[in-house]
Point group: C2
Chain length 213, copies 2
């Protein structure tokens, strides 16, 4: 596949394409034109064609896209064609919520361990995983060659543990802590700052506007 440098904006749209294509698969639709897809997704057909052109096009002129094929190809681009191992560090409400979220597993993201510093949580079982002491996380990551660490703990703890697990060979951090982590460029970081999302909502309410991004 001839793949140029793709912009973040295009990448950000791929999971949404995948979601709609998954729905189409569930409905038994085999082919769809960029026009019909654009109507469903409330974007222009031209944007869809431009986005897909970054990855070689996927489709045949005037014949529409093969839904199964397109679904698989976008999945491959997103790295969903193989399993990813993860640990969740911080086993409070949010950590447990993520551990219990079946959809991630269906997508190939396998939770291998759960950690917390709270002795009341350590030893408790969530989704067949016994919560371990946070001090064991770096060794566990190293031994099990874990790819992704999900940080669902307060910001001081997140900053500290992130530095420790970098040395254990972690490749990516999915960061829910309300802090920007200062890590080597080789580590992939994706932030989910829930408070910031809520503030954007609040801004839009104040402005009286319902202009969704």
């Amino acid at each position: 596949m001839s793949e140029r440098k793709i912009s973040q904006a295009v990448i950000s749209r791929l999971p949404r394409y995948l979601r709609y294509l998954g729905d189409l698969k569930d409905e038994g639709v085999e082919r769809i034109s960029s026009h019909d897809l654009s109507v469903r997704m409330h974007v222009t057909a031209s944007q869809i064609r431009q986005d897909f052109n970054h990855f070689g096009g996927f489709g045949q002129q005037g014949y529409g896209y093969n839904v199964d094929y397109l679904y698989d190809e976008i999945g491959k681009i997103l790295g969903l064609d193989h399993k990813h191992t993860l640990v969740i560090i911080g086993a409070g409400n949010l950590g447990q919520a993520l551990a219990n979220y079946m959809n991630f597993e269906r997508r190939g993201f396998i939770t291998m361990g759960l950690f917390d510093k709270n002795p009341k949580l350590v030893g408790k079982t969530v989704r067949n995983l016994e919560i371990m002491d946070i001090n064991e996380a770096p060794d566990f990551i190293k031994k099990n060659n874990i790819e992704i660490a999900v940080l669902t703990l307060p910001k001081a703890g997140a900053t500290e543990i992130s530095k420790q697990i970098v040395d254990s060979g972690i490749r990516a951090i999915w960061n829910f802590a309300h802090v920007d982590l200062d890590l080597p460029d080789s580590i992939v970081v994706e932030n989910v700052h829930l408070s910031e999302s809520l503030m954007k909502l609040s801004y839009k309410i104040s402005r009286g506007a319902g202009d969704e991004e």
Copy 2:
């Protein structure tokens, strides 16, 4: 304040400014130059000045910004200078995690009710709130003049309840369901699609790049 039409990109950056200014306040810093703030935030001083110019500038040339003043002003722009009422619909792990998250309350977002359709959850208490039956949500929203509904339930349920609560006068929806809601333009919607965030992470791992946005 002379406020022109502000781009989504600028708005998206305001909560991050607020977070850094909050840290500065905690450290007892009273004034900060755009240069010093830029070093902390890893953005350019020019971007900071440009962003703040959208709101009249906030600062005095060569004298730096007053941290308290700037914090309060950005808070006002984000609508954080008054309370917001919300209900959480879907009291599973994620809904309970959000209900238990103290930070939202500190920011003025007050959880007034929790709802679920699962009879096993209804009647259970979370943070002093008794989980109510989802069928009571529309009336509760109307009677209590609730501003924000947080949707933490599967997509079929989210689509259905969102239509019902629109008629109850809800002003905004913070949507965690993995679906795009089709609602009147007057309703503010902010989506948090966790699976999509995880897929972006996976994409970046596949590409071997740690290029954070």
